[in-house]
Amino acid sequence: MRYEAPETTADAVALLTGEQGIARVLAGGTDLLVQLKSGRLEPDLVVDVKKIDAMRSITAEDGGFRIGAGVSSAEMSEHDGLCAMWPGVVEAAALIGSTQVQGRATMVGNLCNASPAADSVPAMVAAGATIRIVGPNGSRDIPVENLNSGPGKTTLAKGELVESVYLPARPAGSSDAYLRFIPRTEMDIAVVGVGVSLTLDGSGTCTAARVGLGAVAPTVLLVEDAAKALIGTKCDEAALDAAAAACSAAANPIDDKRGTVDYRIKVAGVLTRRAAAIARDRAEANA
């Protein structure tokens, strides 16, 4: 295995493009090193992106924030502006693993690892986040929910890597929330994860909403029916129930050591209702 730590994105792209064998990007390393230890993965090249300036910063951009691929979730939690605008995304990233893991883990790494149960992804999907992919043929921006094609699988072409995540600006009366179910209080992989982002107008009516649902399908789902159930309502009990039912219906989970099909379908609904209520309450405070 070779280790390289390039100082520019272009150099990183060149290394990845030029590698004949298996290459992996190293940001936080909290998934990659576990895979190395298990012996399941033996890359020929590891490209550490943490020396690249563009990947290390959180920058204000067009009213929103661009977060570099190498920014840890702990650093995100310490950024006041980000916490105020996108509390749901920040709290989702801050739930990954332990305090120690959050000291290294990055949202982009969490996304590119392509686990269906990744904590930060439902919140990013709900936020309408986009990612900037840089590769040998230039750069492109895509919605977060389009990156992954299945468990452990991204749609990145050879030589491509994700440079940053963009969280857009928000109108007044907006906020978001992320909830996950785990059997303990910390440390577990999400059995179900729900991210809800919404905007309320002056009368408290929901004018926009997005709902991201994780750990219940091969990739994180954008549940449009759940959003439709909230838009045009005051996010009252009936609307929350309808959104919950939509997520339960959209869920397509498996039985595994963390949960059963029935369980995940039920809890998807429960968490949707709870997360939407929190997002609504936060949005009201932002009016």
């Binding site: 090193l33 230890k37 840890s72 332990s98 290294r104 910390e186």
Partner: protein, 163 residues
């Protein structure tokens, strides 16, 4: 396969070592530098026994490559006491009987020190959640939490006495 030369700072001392690309910082600390105070309980970031701080940030050393320590400042349990003077956390752990077998203790001390540096007045709940990544199988955590909260109170008192 050739080894990587790394220059880093460990507990304030400039340190150089050679490591394989796939060696973790934990491997380097224990096997190369023979600093065995940092422990391996799982190797996958689930138990916190390998906790160190890197540039002031609490991390699992099993989740970092030795190569990634280049130019960084690493603090381990061996750097916690100042010569013969223990850190207040170390003293309180002893007084509260907050350790039994002691294998998780270095990780807890490093993690708790990091907590108190960021938040000198944590609640019991904040303390428990900060330390959720440090597993202990002997104590049930009770005396550990008491020791951390008691240390926080004592350190706040000393700070206000000194002011």
């Amino acid at each position: 396969m050739s080894q990587i030369h790394v220059t880093t700072t460990i507990n304030g001392d400039t340190t150089e070592y050679l490591c394989n690309p796939e060696d973790t910082l934990l491997d380097v600390l224990r096997d190369t530098l023979r600093m065995t105070g940092t422990k391996e309980g799982c190797g996958t970031g689930d138990c916190g026994a390998c906790s160190v701080t890197v540039d002031g940030r609490l991390v699992c050393s099993c989740l970092m490559l030795g190569a990634e320590a280049e130019g960084k400042s690493v603090e381990t349990i061996e750097g916690m006491a100042d010569g013969e003077e223990l850190h207040p956390l170390q003293t309180k752990f002893l007084e509260h009987a907050a350790l039994q077998c002691g294998i998780c203790t270095p990780g807890f001390l490093v993690a708790a020190k990091s907590l108190l540096e960021r938040n000198p007045d944590p609640t019991e709940e904040e303390t428990r959640y900060w330390l959720a990544g440090n597993l202990c199988r002997c104590t049930g955590y009770d005396k550990i939490i008491r020791a951390v909260l008691d240390t926080a109170a004592e350190m706040r008192q000393e700070k206000s006495n000194a002011a």
